[in-house]
C-alpha cells in the first residue's frame, strides 16, 4: 500500500473529517449486506413460496429505503472526503506561502518563480485524488469485504473460505504488480514527460528553427519521435496489462466458482435458495472495492510523486530565517554599521558569495558598491537588510550584532529600493501605501513629485485609483522603478539601501531618475549598488567587488589614480 508519512501527517491536519468518513464507510458496508439480504429473501418469498406483491411490499419498500441509505452514505462519503482534501490543500498552500516569507529571499536566487507557483497550485492539486479517492477507497476496501465475510461465514462456511482464500490474492497480486509495474510505470512516466519536453522544446524553439529553415523537416522528426514513443510504450503496456488481466480473472473466476459451487449444492439440497442467492449477490460486491482500489492506485502514485516535488520546494530546504523578537534599536547620529570579516554562501551553491568582507559605514555616509553581476553587491545589501545572516563574521550596528536586534524595527528605518519592485494586484495608491500604511494625501503627493511620478499618474485613466499589477494597467520598467522610488520617499527613513535603477538609454528618463535619486539620498545614510558614474563620484566610499571580495576601496579619484580594476571598469569598456 502506498502510504506516505508526510502525506499522512497532513491528513491529521483535517482529522475532524475522519470519524465521519469512517462511519459512512461502515454504514455503507452494513447497507451492502443488508440490501443483499432483503433482495434474496424477497426473491425467495416470491419464487419459492409464491408470495404476491402485497405480501412482499414491505420488503420492496425496505429495498428502496436501503437504496436511499446507500446513496446517502456513498454520496456523503464522497463529499466528506472531497472537502477534507480541499481543507488539506488549503492548509498546505498557506503553510508553503508562509514558508516563502519565513525563508526570506535567499533560497529563491535561481529558482524560477513560475515553477514554484506551479508546484504550489497544480502540484498540490494532484494531491487531491490521493486524499479524496485513494485513502477513502482504502477504508472501503478494508471494511466492505470484512462485513461480507462476517455475514457469509455463518451462512455457508465453504463460500466463506473461497472468499477468504481469494481475497488476499487481489492485494497480493496488486503488490506484486505494484512492485513490478512501479519501475515500469516510472519509466513510462519518464518517457512520457520526455516526450512532452521534446514537444515543448520544439515549440519554444520554433523561432530558432524557422530562422535556420529547419522548421519543416522538424515536423517529420516530431512524427517519428511520437510514433517511436507509441510503439515502445505499447510494448510495455502489453505486459503491464497482463497483470490487470490476472486480477480481473481472480475476481471473475472466483465469482464463477462460488456460483457453480453453491448451485451444485443447492441442486443436491445441501443449502437453501435464499442463502445461495445472498452469497451470489455478495460475491461481486466482495471483489468490487478491491478492484476499484487497484484503479485508484494511479491516483495514489501521482499523489506521492507530487509530494516529492512539493517537499523539495526551496523554502523548505533552508531553515526558518525570519524570526521575530530581539531588542529594538534606533539608528542615530554617531552610529556605525560595521561588517566584520563576513562570509556568506547561498545554500544551493558551492562557491561563497562573500569572503571576508570588512568595512565600516558611518551615519550620514554614502557607500557605493561596484562590480560585475555576481560579484556580491546584492548579497551585501541583503545582509544589511537582515534578509540573510552571515555564515561567519558579524554585521554590527555600533556594538549590537544584527542577529540580536528586532529586524522589523531595524527595517522600518530603511528605505529599500530594489530593481524589480513588488507590485500587488491593487490600485497604484495602495501599492504606494505599502511603504507607509497611514500616510496623508499630502505625503503621497509629495512622494509622487519627488519620484517624478506625477506625469505617469496624470496619464493613467483613473489616476491614483487605477489598478496596476497582473490584472491592471501595465507600467513600463522605468515607471515601475519610479513607483519603487516613490515608496522610498514615503518611508522617509534615515537609511537608504538602493539598487540603482538602470534605465535603457532614454536620455530624458536618465536625467529624471538622477535628480530623484539625488533628492532621496540627500542627508541620509546610503548604501547604493551603483551603475552610474555621477553616483560613484559623489560617494564617500566606493567598495569595488570581485568574486565576493573587496578588491579596492576609496573615493573615485583615489581609485582612478590607482589604475586598478576600478579604473579599468570606468575607462576600459567604452568604445
Amino acid at each position: 500500500m502506498i502510504l506516505d508519512k508526510r502525506l499522512l501527517r497532513l491528513l491529521m491536519s483535517e482529522r475532524g473529517y475522519l470519524p465521519g468518513i469512517g462511519a459512512l464507510s461502515l454504514v455503507s458496508a452494513v447497507f451492502v449486506v443488508g440490501q443483499a439480504r432483503l433482495l434474496s429473501s424477497l426473491l425467495d418469498a416470491v419464487f419459492l413460496e409464491g408470495a404476491d406483491l402485497a405480501r412482499v411490499l414491505p420488503l420492496l419498500s425496505g429495498l428502496l429505503l436501503i437504496g436511499l441509505g446507500r446513496a446517502l452514505a456513498s454520496g456523503g462519503m464522497e463529499i466528506l472526503a472531497g472537502w477534507m482534501a480541499v481543507g488539506i490543500k488549503e492548509k498546505l498552500r498557506l503553510w508553503l506561502v508562509k514558508g516563502i516569507f519565513s525563508a526570506g529571499p535567499a533560497p529563491f536566487q535561481r529558482e524560477n518563480s513560475g515553477e514554484i507557483s506551479n508546484t504550489i497550485t497544480n502540484g498540490i492539486e494532484s494531491l487531491d485524488a490521493y486524499y479524496s479517492q485513494y485513502l477513502p477507497q482504502l477504508a472501503v476496501a478494508a471494511l466492505i469485504p470484512l462485513a461480507i465475510l462476517i455475514s457469509v461465514f455463518p451462512l455457508d462456511w465453504l463460500s466463506g473460505v473461497v472468499f477468504l482464500l481469494t481475497a488476499p490474492l487481489i492485494p497480493f497480486f496488486m503488490v506484486l504488480i505494484g512492485k513490478g509495474s512501479e519501475a515500469v510505470t516510472r519509466r513510462q512516466w519518464q518517457s512520457l514527460s520526455r516526450m512532452s519536453a521534446f514537444f515543448l522544446d520544439t515549440l519554444q524553439g520554433l523561432r530558432e528553427l524557422k530562422q535556420w529553415n529547419r522548421s519543416l523537416d522538424h515536423a517529420e522528426r516530431l512524427a517519428r519521435v511520437t510514433d517511436e514513443y507509441r510503439s515502445t510504450t505499447m510494448n510495455v503496456l502489453r505486459i503491464t496489462f497482463i497483470s490487470a488481466l490476472v486480477l480481473e480473472l481472480v475476481a471473475t473466476i472466483s465469482t464463477a466458482v462460488v456460483a457453480v459451487q453453491i448451485g451444485l449444492r443447492l441442486l443436491y439440497g445441501m443449502m437453501n435458495f435464499e442463502q445461495a442467492f445472498l452469497i451470489l449477490l455478495l460475491a461481486p460486491e466482495f471483489y468490487q472495492p478491491m478492484r476499484l482500489l487497484g484503479q485508484r492506485f494511479h491516483a495514489g502514485m501521482s499523489g506521492i510523486t507530487a509530494a516529492g516535488r512539493i517537499f523539495k520546494l526551496p523554502m523548505l530546504q533552508s531553515e526558518e530565517h525570519e524570526k521575530r523578537g530581539g531588542s529594538p534599536l534606533l539608528f542615530k547620529a554617531g552610529d556605525v554599521i560595521r561588517f566584520e570579516n563576513v562570509t556568506f554562501r547561498y545554500p544551493d551553491r558551492e562557491e561563497q558569495a562573500l569572503k571576508g568582507i570588512d568595512f565600516e559605514w558611518k551615519f550620514g555616509e554614502t557607500v557605493a558598491l561596484v562590480g560585475s553581476s555576481g560579484s556580491g553587491k546584492t548579497t551585501i545589501a541583503r545582509l544589511v537588510m537582515g534578509f540573510i545572516q552571515p555564515n561567519e563574521g558579524v554585521v554590527r550596528i555600533s556594538q549590537h550584532s544584527l542577529t540580536e536586534i528586532d529586524l522589523e524595527v531595524w527595517r522600518s528605518q530603511i528605505a529599500w529600493v530594489g530593481q524589480r519592485p513588488y507590485i500587488m494586484n491593487a490600485s497604484l495608491l495602495e501599492n504606494l501605501r505599502l511603504a507607509k500604511p497611514q500616510c496623508s494625501s499630502g505625503e503621497i503627493q509629495q512622494a509622487l513629485r519627488l519620484a517624478n511620478l506625477e506625469e505617469v499618474v496624470a496619464r493613467l485613466p483613473q489616476g491614483l485609483e487605477t489598478p496596476i499589477g497582473e490584472a491592471g494597467a501595465k507600467l513600463s520598467s522605468g515607471e515601475l522603478q519610479r513607483v519603487s522610488l516613490a515608496r522610498a520617499f514615503l518611508r522617509d527613513a534615515p537609511i537608504v539601501v538602493l539598487d540603482e535603477p538602470t534605465a535603457h538609454l532614454d536620455a530624458g528618463l536618465e536625467e529624471m531618475l538622477e535628480s530623484s535619486l539625488e533628492r532621496l539620498c540627500r542627508n541620509k545614510t546610503v548604501m547604493i549598488i551603483a551603475h552610474r558614474l555621477p553616483t560613484v563620484m559623489r560617494a564617500d566610499q566606493i567598495l569595488v567587488l570581485r568574486n565576493g571580495q573587496i578588491v579596492e576601496r576609496g573615493r573615485h579619484w583615489e581609485l582612478l589614480n590607482k589604475q586598478g580594476f576600478y579604473a579599468q571598469l570606468v575607462l576600459g569598456y567604452r568604445g
Binding site: 433482495l39 404476491d52 456513498s74 516569507f101 511520437t226 503496456l237 451470489l280 551603475h531 553616483t535 568604445g575
Partner: protein, 597 residues
Amino acid sequence: MPNWFSVIGDKMRTIVRLLSFLKPFAGLVLLSVLLNTAAILAGIGLLGTSADLIARAALQPSIAELQVSIVGVRFFGISRAVLRYLERLVSHSVNFRLLARVRVWFYNRVEPLAPARIEDYQSGDLLQRVIGDIESLENFYVRSVAPPLSAVFITTAMGWIVGSVDWRLGLVLVCGLLFSGAVLSLLALRIGEKVGKVFVAAKAHLSAEIVSAVQGISDIIAYSQQESVLENFKAHQRTTSHVQRTLVAGSGLINGLMILLTNLTLVLVLWLAIPMISTGSLEGYRLAVLAIITLASFEAVNNLPSAAQSLHSNLESAKRLFELSDQPPAVKELTSTVSVLAGSPEILEINRLSFRYPARADTILENISFTLLPEKKIALVGESGAGKSTLISVLLRYWDYEEGEVRLNGIDYKRLDPQEIRRRLGVVSASPYIFSATVRQNLKIANPIAEEDELLNAVRLAGLAEWLDSLPDGLDTWVGEHGQLLSGGERQRLAVARALLSKAPFILLDEPTSGLDSLKEMELMNTIFDLFDQRGLLWVTHRLIQMDRLDEIIVLRAGRVIERGKHNRLLAAGGYYAKLWQAQQRLLWEARPDLLV
C-alpha cells in the same frame, strides 16, 4: 434563452472537429467500443447465468439441465477478463495514436504562424498550457467518446433482452439507464461548466499572487507586508476552495443519485414482475435473473457523469488550441516563387520601408532606407521601443509590410520564397534558443550538412574552445534543459557559432549582448566584428559601444530615422545621438536586472 443554441452549436462544432482527428483510425475506435461493450455484457452475462444457475438449481432438476448455465458462467467469467484486457490494449493504442496525431497536426498548423502570430505564447507558461491542453484531449477519447457509445449499445441490448420477457420491464430498464446516463451527465456537465470558469480564473489569481510574492519577496519583507500579502492570498484561496467544495458537493450528489436510480429501477422492475409471476405469465426462477441483470446493467452508465464533468474543460482546451491554430499566417502564401540568383556581390536593399502591425494604428517603422553589402557594417540604434527589432522580423519575412520595398539581389521580397531569403540571413539574437539536445545538434540547426571540422572550427572561432574542452563528451555533450549548462555569454557565443556555420552573406544582430555584463559585452562584440569581417552586418542595439567600427549608424526614434552617418560625424553634430552617447558614458556598468534583487 436565444444564445443557448449558439452555445450548444459552438460546443458541437468543437466536438465534431475533435472527432475528426479519430477518422484515420475509425476501425480501431469501433473495435475498442465493441470490446468495451462486450466486456460489460460479459459481466452482466456472468451474473445473469449465475443467477439462472442458482435459481434453477433450487428447483432441483437433473444436473444435465444445469450444464448450459454452468458452461455459461465459466465462459462469461473468463471472457470478461480477456475482453477487458483486449479493450485496454486497443483503447490505449488509440490514445497514443490520437495524441501523436494531434501533436503533429498542431505543429504543422503553428509552424506557418511562427514566430509572428505566436509571439505572445513564447513565454514558457502559455506554451506549457498549450501542451497541457493537448494532453488533456487524451481524456476526451477515453472518457467521453468510447463509454457513451458503449452505453448506447448496452442500453439497447439490455432493453431488447429484458423487453423480450415483457415490454414494460424493458422500458423501465431503458428509462432507468437513460436517466442515469444522460440526465445525470447533463447535470454534471452544467455543474462543471458553471463552476469551471470561476475555478480557472481563481486559480490564475492564486498563481499570480504566488509569483509576485516570490519575485517581490525582498520588498515585502523590507516593508513588513507579509501579513497583508498573506491575507490577499487567503482571500483568493477561499474562492478556489469554495468552488472546489461546490464541485465536490455536485459530484457527491450525482453519485448518490446514480445509486438511488439503480435501486429505484430494480424496485420498479420487481414491482412489475412480481404480479406476472403470480399470474403465471413469468416463470418464478427468472425473477432472480431479472433482478441481478438490472443491477449489473448500470455498470455501463456509472462513469458517464464524471466524464461529463470533465468534458467541459476538455472542450475549453480544444477551443484554445483551435483559436491559436486557426489564425491566418502573417505572411501571405506565395503562389509562384522566383529563386534568388547568387548576386555578386550579394545585395540587400531597403527602400522607403514602412511597417505597422495589422489592425493597429501606430506606425512602427516609417520610411526606412539603407543598403547592406558584404563587408558593410550598419548599426541601428535607438531607445527600446523604437522599432529596431521589428525591422529584423520584417527582414526575416516573419511579418509582411505594406509600404516601401525590400530587394534581395535585385528581386522583390514579396516574390521570393521566405526560405530562400532566410538562407541568406544569419541571426544572433538577444536570447538565442538552445535546444535540449547535444552541442552538435544545436550547431547543426544552422547547417545540417556541416562536417566535423567545420563544427569544431566554428566553436573555436566563436571563443568557445576552452568551454568545449571542459565538456565531458565534447560536441556530443547534452546541454541540459534549455541549455542550462551554458552561461549567458556561452549561449551568445554558441549563437555566433551557428551564424558562422550558416555561411549566410548577411548577419543580423539583434541586441546580441543583452544580458551580458560590460566586459563580456566588449569581448563578444570584438569577436563578432572580427569573425564577420567579410559579411554584411546589421546590428540593432541600444548600447553604444565600438561605434567607430561601423560604416553607418542609423538613429531611430519612434520608428523614424532622425540622424545617420559615421560615429565621429554624429558626435560632432551634437544632436540626439550625441545625447544618447553622453548618457551612456555616465553608465558605469550595464546591469543585468534579472540577477538583481
